[in-house]
Amino acid sequence: MLTGRPIATRYDVTVKNRPGELARVTELLAKAGVDVLHLAVASVGDVAEIRFTTHNDAGLVERLRSRGLEARVAPVG
């Protein structure tokens, strides 16, 4: 039965385009026990976008923001 609930959540995290920024995010994901379904990174100028989707993300956006990371969230599916 279809419930209309999203099957996953997509996160867009904007970081500085420098070494170590992906590790900041993956450390947080690892500690929160979040597995990614898809991950992509793209960069332009001084900025990089880290995008990932997951389906086990309770409280994740708050954790990202509490670390000073600019995160946007969108349901998928």
């Binding site: 385009n17 420098r18 070494p19 170590g20 992906l22 590790a23 995010v25 993956t26 450390e27 994901l29 690892a30 929160a32 026990g33 979040v34 597995d35 990614v36 379904l37 898809h38 991950l39 992509a40 990174v41 793209a42 960069s43 332009v44 100028g45 001084d46 900025v47 990089a48 976008e49 995008r51």
Partner: protein, 142 residues
């Protein structure tokens, strides 16, 4: 030595729908088959980064439609799709001050397949090899 099958074109254009449409038309005209695409926006500039087969004449044509064009060597790696494995890899690159230009991924059979473009590919491959992560410069088409 194996030659990479795919390369990454890293194109920066003004973040304007007409300029992005021009770029899309050029890719269509040149029959560029995209294997994967990522994008990023910073104010008035957009980056369109994609994987495709090497095409010696394409760069010159892209340069006429873009603010800047770079071609980046890419390599692929597979790791178990587990959050700590991903972090181990990201940390190993961070510890060597390696910057990730772009990253593409797919998940299959519990494995996370990554295609990476970085500022120091040889250093990155060495870091991953030290972690026991096999890498391959021959990036296969999907």
């Amino acid at each position: 030595m194996l030659k990479p099958t795919l390369t990454q074109y890293n194109i920066q254009v003004p973040n304007d729908p007409r300029r992005l449409a021009e770029l899309a038309r050029l890719l269509m005209k040149e029959k560029v088959k995209l294997e994967s695409v990522v994008t990023a926006v910073d104010g008035g500039q957009a980056a369109v980064q994609f994987l495709t087969k090497r095409n010696p004449g394409l760069r010159e044509k892209l340069e006429k439609a873009a603010t800047s064009v770079c071609e980046n060597q890419v390599f692929q790696a597979e790791i178990p799709n587990h959050h700590w494995e991903l972090h181990k890899l990201a940390k190993a690159l961070a510890d060597r001050e390696i910057n990730i230009i772009s990253l593409y991924s797919s998940v299959s059979d519990g494995r996370l397949r990554l295609v990476l473009a970085v500022d120091e590919p040889a250093n990155a491959v060495a870091a991953m090899s030290k972690l026991g992560i096999p890498t391959d410069y021959d990036v296969y088409e999907v």
